[in-house]
C-alpha cells in the first residue's frame, strides 16, 4: 500500500485533534459542525444536482408543496427548493468573501496598530471609533443607491467597512501578547518586528481569528440578506434573501403562500444557529482551558 504524503497526514491529524478539542467536546459544537457541513455539501452539489433549473418556470405561481415540488413554487412558478439550493452556493460564497476581507484587514490593521502603537495607533483608533459608532451595514445601505446591485460587490463593500470591530479585539490581544516574556526573548536574540508579528504573535491569535471569522459570517449573511430583502441588493440572482424579497413583494403573506416565506427563513436561521453554536463551543472550551476547570 502506498504511504500517503506525511505532511498531509500531519496536517490532517492536527485538524482532527483541534476539532476534537474545541468542537466535538460539546453537544453544541457537534451539532453546529454537522449543520455547517451539511450546508457546505449542499452548496457544493447544488449547481449540478438541483432537481429543476432554478430559473425555469415549471408550474403555476405559488403551487403548494408536493412530492413533485417539495418546497412549492414562487410567484413566477419557479421551483423554490432548486432556487434555495443554488442560493446556498451564492450565499456561502458571498458570506465567505466578506468575512475573509474583514478578517484580513482586521488582522493587518489590528496587529500593526497594537504592535507599533504611537501615531499609527492613534489614527487607527480614530478610524475605528467612527465605524464602531456608525454601523457598516448602515453605510452599505446608503451606498446601495450609488453602486450597481451585485452580491459580490456588496460583500466586498461590507468587508471593507466592517473590519474595525474585529480589529479592535485583535489590537488589544496583540498589546497583551507584546509584553509576554517569549516576545522579549525573541527581541533579545535579534528577531525583526515583522518576524515577531508573523512568527510569534499571529499564530497565537488563531482561536480569536476563527471566532471573529465565524461571527462575521453570521453578520455578512444577515446584512446581505437584509439588503436584498429591502430591494436594495441583487434581486435577480437566486439567494435566500431573493426568494424572501419576491414573496413579500408579491403578497405571499396575504395569499397564504407560507412555504415561500418559511423555507428560505429556515435556511437562514438554521445556518446562522449552526455557526453561533460552533462559536459558543469554541469560546467555552477556550475559557475552560484558560481558567482551568470552571466554565
Amino acid at each position: 500500500m502506498e504511504v500517503m504524503n506525511p505532511l498531509i497526514m500531519k496536517y490532517a491529524y492536527n485538524l482532527i485533534a483541534i476539532l476534537r478539542r474545541y468542537v466535538f467536546s460539546t453537544y453544541k459544537g457537534l451539532f453546529g459542525f454537522i449543520t455547517i457541513l451539511v450546508f457546505v455539501l449542499l452548496g457544493l452539489v447544488a449547481p449540478f444536482k438541483a432537481p429543476y433549473d432554478p430559473n425555469a418556470i415549471v408550474a403555476s405561481p405559488y403551487t403548494s408543496p408536493s412530492n413533485e415540488f417539495i418546497m412549492g413554487t414562487d410567484y413566477f412558478g419557479r421551483d423554490i427548493f432548486s432556487r434555495l439550493l443554488v442560493g446556498t452556493t451564492y450565499t456561502l460564497l458571498v458570506a465567505a468573501l466578506a468575512s475573509t476581507i474583514i478578517v484580513f484587514i482586521g488582522l493587518f490593521a489590528g496587529s500593526l496598530s497594537g504592535y507599533f502603537g504611537g501615531l499609527v495607533d492613534e489614527v487607527f483608533m480614530r478610524i475605528t471609533d467612527l465605524f464602531m459608532v456608525i454601523p457598516s451595514f448602515f453605510i452599505l445601505i446608503i451606498l446601495s443607491a450609488y453602486l450597481p446591485p451585485n452580491n459580490y460587490l456588496s460583500a466586498i463593500v461590507l468587508g471593507v467597512l466592517a473590519w474595525p470591530t474585529g480589529a479592535r479585539i485583535i489590537r488589544s490581544q496583540v498589546i497583551s501578547l507584546k509584553t509576554q516574556l517569549y516576545i522579549e526573548a525573541a527581541k533579545a536574540i535579534g528577531a525583526g518586528d515583522l518576524r515577531i508579528i508573523f512568527r510569534h504573535i499571529l499564530p497565537n491569535m488563531l482561536p480569536l481569528v476563527v471566532i471573529t471569522f465565524i461571527q462575521d459570517l453570521v453578520y455578512a449573511v444577515h446584512a446581505i440578506t437584509t439588503l436584498i430583502f429591502l430591494g436594495l441588493g441583487d434581486i435577480k440572482q437566486p439567494t435566500w434573501g431573493e426568494t424572501l424579497y419576491w414573496s413579500f413583494a408579491t403578497g405571499a403573506l396575504y395569499r397564504g403562500a407560507w412555504w415561500s416565506l418559511l423555507y428560505p427563513s429556515l435556511f437562514i436561521v438554521v445556518f446562522s444557529a449552526g455557526l453561533i453554536m460552533l462559536n459558543e463551543s469554541i469560546s467555552t472550551t477556550l475559557k475552560r482551558e484558560r481558567f482551568g476547570g470552571q466554565t
Binding site: 448602515f138 446608503i142 446601495s144 443607491a145 437584509t226 430583502f229
Partner: protein, 326 residues
C-alpha cells in the same frame, strides 16, 4: 458631585472628529459611483441637457473636488439640504422633520423597554445560573441572535397582523377615521400601530443587554465586597440590589454602542411595517434614487447616533466616579 471635565472634553472632541468624518463620507459617497447621479436622474426623469446642468450646479457637482467641498459645506451650514425629487420637490429638511418624531418615538420606547427587561432578566438569571430555566433562556437568546431582524418582523407581521388580526398591518395611525390630536382614541390608535415595531425591536436587542447585565452580575457576585456584605449579615435581596447598581454601568456603554444597530433595525422595521419615520423615508429615497434626501438622512441619523453615544459617555462619567482616573 465631581465631574470628570477632562474626560468629557475629550469625548466631545472625539464626537466632533467623528461627525467631521461622517460629513466627508457623505460628501465622497455620491462621487464614488461611475458617472454622476445627475446622469441617472437625466435618464430617469427625462431631463434636458440645460436642466441637468442646472441641477449639477445646484447639487454642487461643478468644479474641482475642493470647490465642490466648499459648496457642499456652505449649503450644509446654511441648513439648506436641497429638495426631494420623490416627495414633490418639497425641501428635504421639511420631509425629515415630519418623519423624525416617529422614529425618535419608536427608538426611545423600544430602547427603554429593552433595557428594563434586559436588566431585570440579567439580575434574575445571574442568581439562577445553570438552572434548567437559565439554559432554556440562553437557548432562546441564541435563536434570536440567529434570526435577522427583518425576518423576526416578518414573522410577527404574519402571526399577529395577518393571522390573528390583533394589530394593524401598517402606518402610524388610522388616516381616515380618527382626528389627530391629544385625544385618548388617537393615543390608543398610535400605540396599537407602533406595538409590533416596538415589540420586535425590543426582542432583537434583548440578548446584548441581557448578556451584558448577567455576565457582569456574575463577575461582581464573586467579588470580595459581596462576601463582606454577606458576612456582616446584610439581607440577600439588599446584596443583589447593591451589586445590580454596580453591574448596570456596562449596560449604559453597550446600549450606546449598539444604538447605531438599533437605528438600522428601526430602518428595517419602518420599511416592513410601513411606519412613516426616517427609515421608511430612507428606503423610499434609496429605491427612487432621491440623492439629496439620501444624503440628508445619512447625515441626520449619523449625527443622532454620535450624539446618543456622547450623551451615554457623559452619563457614564456621572454614574461612575472612577472615570476621572482615566
Amino acid at each position: 458631585m465631581r465631574i470628570a471635565s477632562k474626560y468629557i472634553a475629550r469625548r466631545i472632541l472625539n464626537s466632533i472628529i467623528i461627525i467631521f468624518l461622517t460629513l466627508i463620507i457623505a460628501f465622497v459617497i455620491p462621487r464614488l459611483s461611475p458617472g454622476d447621479p445627475v446622469d441617472i436622474m437625466q435618464q430617469t426623469y427625462g431631463l434636458s441637457n440645460e436642466e441637468a446642468e442646472a441641477i449639477r450646479e445646484r447639487l454642487g457637482l461643478k468644479g474641482n473636488i475642493l470647490e465642490q467641498f466648499i459648496t457642499y459645506m456652505s449649503y450644509l451650514l446654511r441648513g439648506d439640504l436641497g429638495r426631494s425629487y420623490s416627495y414633490n420637490m418639497r425641501p428635504v429638511s421639511e420631509v425629515i422633520l415630519t418623519a423624525l418624531p416617529w422614529s425618535l418615538f419608536l427608538l426611545g420606547v423600544a430602547i427603554t423597554i429593552r433595557v428594563l427587561i434586559g436588566v431585570l432578566l440579567g439580575i434574575y438569571f445571574a442568581r439562577k445560573q445553570g438552572s434548567l430555566l437559565d439554559t432554556s433562556v440562553s437557548g432562546i437568546m441564541s435563536l434570536i441572535l440567529a434570526t435577522p431582524y427583518f425576518l423576526l418582523a416578518l414573522i410577527f407581521l404574519y402571526v399577529f397582523s395577518v393571522k390573528l388580526n390583533l394589530f394593524p398591518l401598517s402606518h402610524a395611525y388610522t388616516y381616515e377615521s380618527i382626528q389627530k390630536g391629544f385625544s385618548i382614541e388617537f393615543i390608543i390608535d398610535v400605540l396599537r400601530h407602533s406595538a409590533l415595531p416596538i415589540i420586535t425591536l425590543v426582542i432583537i436587542g434583548l440578548p446584548s443587554t441581557f448578556y451584558t447585565m448577567k455576565n457582569n452580575m456574575i463577575l461582581l457576585l464573586n467579588e470580595d465586597f459581596v462576601y463582606v456584605l454577606r458576612a456582616v449579615g446584610i439581607r440577600e435581596s439588599r446584596v443583589t440590589r447593591i451589586v445590580a447598581r454596580n453591574a448596570i454601568l456596562p449596560v449604559v456603554t453597550s446600549t450606546a454602542i449598539s444604538f447605531g444597530y438599533t437605528v438600522v433595525g428601526a430602518v428595517v422595521a419602518e420599511t416592513i411595517f410601513s411606519y412613516p419615520g426616517m427609515g421608511y423615508v430612507l428606503t423610499n429615497a434609496l429605491l427612487n434614487k432621491d440623492y439629496p434626501l439620501i444624503q440628508a438622512i445619512f447625515l441626520m441619523l449619523s449625527i443622532t447616533i454620535v450624539m446618543a453615544n456622547l450623551i451615554a459617555d457623559i452619563l457614564y462619567a456621572f454614574l461612575d466616579p472612577r472615570v476621572e482616573l482615566r
